[in-house]
């Protein structure tokens, strides 16, 4: 298995090189560059455009150079110095920007995934074992609504209700006064007060899908002969359901865990934008819109890298949880 992983990693390298080139070309595709977009924004807000500043920036970022030179600069920076380039908009190293937000992004994603699983799996299992019961119909209806409601819309509704009905401070993960504060107990409490909205919104959407998946998977497994075997052994129904069909039905979950890696960067972008969460999603969206070349490129590249790694992780995880795959060969 180790050899396999090494081999897969080896195969990833050419893939990633091609991906990095494509990322770079994609961000260069739209007309203009960061500076035209920047100037246009300025004009749109009625601000003066300082041509000297633009000229200096153009030179600063080598925007006049041919694309392959820019690409070479970028890539060699990444490979030789771990330098992902500078964000034109944020005037900061890309690496710093992404890392700054990574902790929050990962934290939020994990919490949401956990909450979603924590809810979805029991509900899905219940629905499956009580197929066509009233709670099953209820959960099904709920999960269809969940799957059908755009997350950003839900976010706005929840925010509005939280604000108008409960007078809560909404947006972001902290009250304004805590944003720049160092971590403290009060800050944690403050965060928990804010955290529930994004977690509920993000989890609601993915929970809906997860309930459907769990229910369908468990239903598939419930009628398998091995479940009957277990039943014939005299096991308690609840125990056997969790030990056998649910365990097998969880395999698809494990196999998608790897995919959530990419979601760490891009996940729930719209919701994060609506809720003004300082995660990577909104930053990526913003970078793409403002044509912040290196930042956008790095995001695209990272996304691809994480997708590729995620696939590997998924495969390994799946093999780990499923002896049928693990043992083969």
């Amino acid at each position: 298995m180790l050899g396999y992983i090494l081999r897969r990693i080896g195969m990833m390298i050419p893939t990633l090189i091609v991906i990095s080139m494509i990322s770079f070309i994609i961000i260069q595709l739209p007309p203009g560059d960061y500076l035209t977009s920047y100037a246009a924004t300025l004009r749109a807000t009625g601000d003066a455009v300082d041509e000297a500043e633009l000229a200096s920036l153009r030179e600063r970022y080598g925007l006049g150079e041919p694309i392959y030179v820019q690409y070479y600069k970028w890539m060699s920076g990444i490979l030789l110095r771990g330098d992902w380039g500078q964000s034109m908009e944020w005037r900061k190293p890309v690496k710093e920007l992404i890392w700054e937000r990574m902790a929050l992004t990962v934290f939020l994603s994990l919490i949401s995934i956990l909450v979603s699983w924590f809810v979805a799996i029991p509900v899905g299992v219940f629905s499956a074992t009580h197929q066509y019961s009233i709670p099953d119909y209820l959960f099904s209806a709920l999960s269809f609504i969940g799957a059908g409601t755009p997350g950003f819309m839900l976010a706005m509704v929840v925010m509005w209700v939280a604000m108008r009905q409960f007078g809560l401070n909404v947006g972001g993960l902290f009250s304004e006064e805590y944003i720049l504060e160092p971590w403290s107990w009060a800050k944690v409490v403050d965060m928990l007060k804010h955290l529930w909205i994004p977690v509920v919104v993000i989890a609601f959407e993915s929970t809906a899908g997860s309930i459907r998946t769990t229910r369908a998977n468990v239903l598939d497994e419930l009628n398998k002969p091995y479940v009957e075997t277990a039943r014939a052994k005299g096991l308690r129904e609840r125990n056997l359901v969790w030990k056998y069909p649910v365990r097998v039905a969880m395999n698809p979950f494990f196999s998608t865990v790897g995919w959530t890696l990419a979601g760490l960067i891009s996940g729930q972008t719209l919701i994060a934008v609506v809720l003004s969460l300082q995660t990577n999603g909104p930053m990526m969206l913003r970078a793409l819109r403002s044509q912040d070349m290196y930042l956008a490129g790095s995001f695209l590249f990272l996304l691809s890298v994480l997708t590729v790694i995620g696939t590997l992780v998924s495969d390994v995880l799946l093999a780990w949880v499923d002896p049928r795959i693990r043992m083969e060969g």
Binding site: M1, G3, Y4, R7, D315, A319, I325, R326, E328, G329
Partner: protein, 348 residues
């Protein structure tokens, strides 16, 4: 018919047929580490109008052999000579795409699973008529007439033509499969476990149907099955396969009454006889069927064979003819006296 069978011309002659499937070692690798020798140098022939039974346990290569003859798989080696009605005697393994299309009009297949081998979104007319349409044999009103005729032949009512497969029971579906196979009036029909999935009572109906059709249209069958009783019942001659190799072939009665290969003997002995008064202890073979990816040395059967001598583990036996049309690959075939099934009067 076995008696006068010898005068009939050969329809199919298979020589040294091989099919190796590469083994891509497991989930975590894509490199080929070996081959499953699913079919490994199989030779037999079928005369026109006769039924050759091909028996063996699962994984012995019998199904693969059936498919190789139709070139549903590309053979790894060997020759398949077929006496085509139009093209004459051709080597199936060398045919080009066009010729193959022609050939397939004369070679058809009936599958084991009557549920999955029929497209649920097609009506009977479409299913049975498809080969006619594709090969430009009939269309429009002609097509309907021909399909109606075929359905009648297999014992289904022509009015069913517009229905979908799900409206039929397992036995009826198998009849649909037979009708489709017969649509182009083939010379050879490869029957791949056609009755294994059917209930006892339906199995009998289907076997009778196949026999009736053979008599009516002069069909030739390659009858692939693991059920020795069924094979005995329907075949003129029988070939036994073990781990990709043909170990014995002979006229049916000869093979069942006087087998020459210890594996055949064990197989026959293992079949539970439907007669409580003849409770026999079967010859219980030790261990499992050999792994075709990693077969034993010498005779593949030797680790399980109770007659094995040292030579069996060293030297691979060749198929040889002992007695008229009785082929066997066993070093000790001439010295052993093996037990067949006793010919007893049927109870009731």
């Amino acid at each position: 018919m076995a008696e006068n069978g010898a005068e009939r011309p050969l329809l199919l002659e298979v020589k040294g047929l091989k099919k190796y499937f590469p083994i891509r070692k497991g989930f975590f690798s894509t490199r080929t580490v070996g081959y499953v020798k699913a079919v490994d140098g199989v030779s037999f022939f079928i005369r026109e109008g006769e039924t050759l039974g091909l028996v063996g346990e699962s994984g012995c290569g019998k199904t693969t052999t059936g498919r190789l003859i139709l070139r549903a798989y590309e053979p790894t080696g060997g020759e398949i000579w077929f006496n085509d009605r139009k093209m004459g005697r051709v080597n199936v393994t060398n045919l080009d795409r066009q010729q193959l299309k022609q050939l397939r009009q004369n070679m058809q297949m009936i599958f084991q699973d009557p549920y999955s081998s029929l497209n649920p979104r097609m009506t009977l007319l479409q299913i049975v008529g498809e080969p006619l349409l594709v090969n430009g044999v009939a269309r429009g009103g002609d097509l309907q007439d021909r399909v109606a005729e075929l359905l009648r032949v297999v014992g289904l009512r022509p009015e069913y033509m517009t229905r979908y497969p799900h409206a039929f029971s397992g036995g009826q579906r198998q009849r649909i499969g037979v009708a489709r196979a017969l649509a182009l009036n083939p010379q050879l029909v490869v029957c791949d476990e056609p009755v294994s999935a059917l209930d006892v009572s339906i199995q009998a109906q289907t076997l009778n149907l196949l026999q009736d059709l053979q008599a009516e249209f002069g069909l030739t069958y390659l009858f692939v099955s693991h059920d020795l009783s069924v094979v005995e019942h329907i075949s003129d001659r029988v070939a036994v396969m073990y781990v990709g190799k043909l170990v014995e072939s002979a006229r049916t009665q000869q093979l069942f009454l006087k087998p020459l290969h210890p594996y055949t003997e064990a197989l026959l002995s293992a079949v539970p006889k439907p007669d409580p008064r003849r409770r026999t202890e079967p010859i219980v073979l030790q261990g499992d069927v050999a792994d075709p990816a990693n077969p034993p040395s010498g005779c593949y059967f030797h680790p399980r064979c109770r007659y094995a001598i040292e030579r069996c583990s060293q030297e691979e036996p060749q198929l040889r003819e002992l007695g008229e049309e009785h082929f066997v690959s066993c070093h000790r075939a001439d010295e052993l006296s093996l037990q067949g099934v006793a010919s007893a009067a049927m109870a009731v």
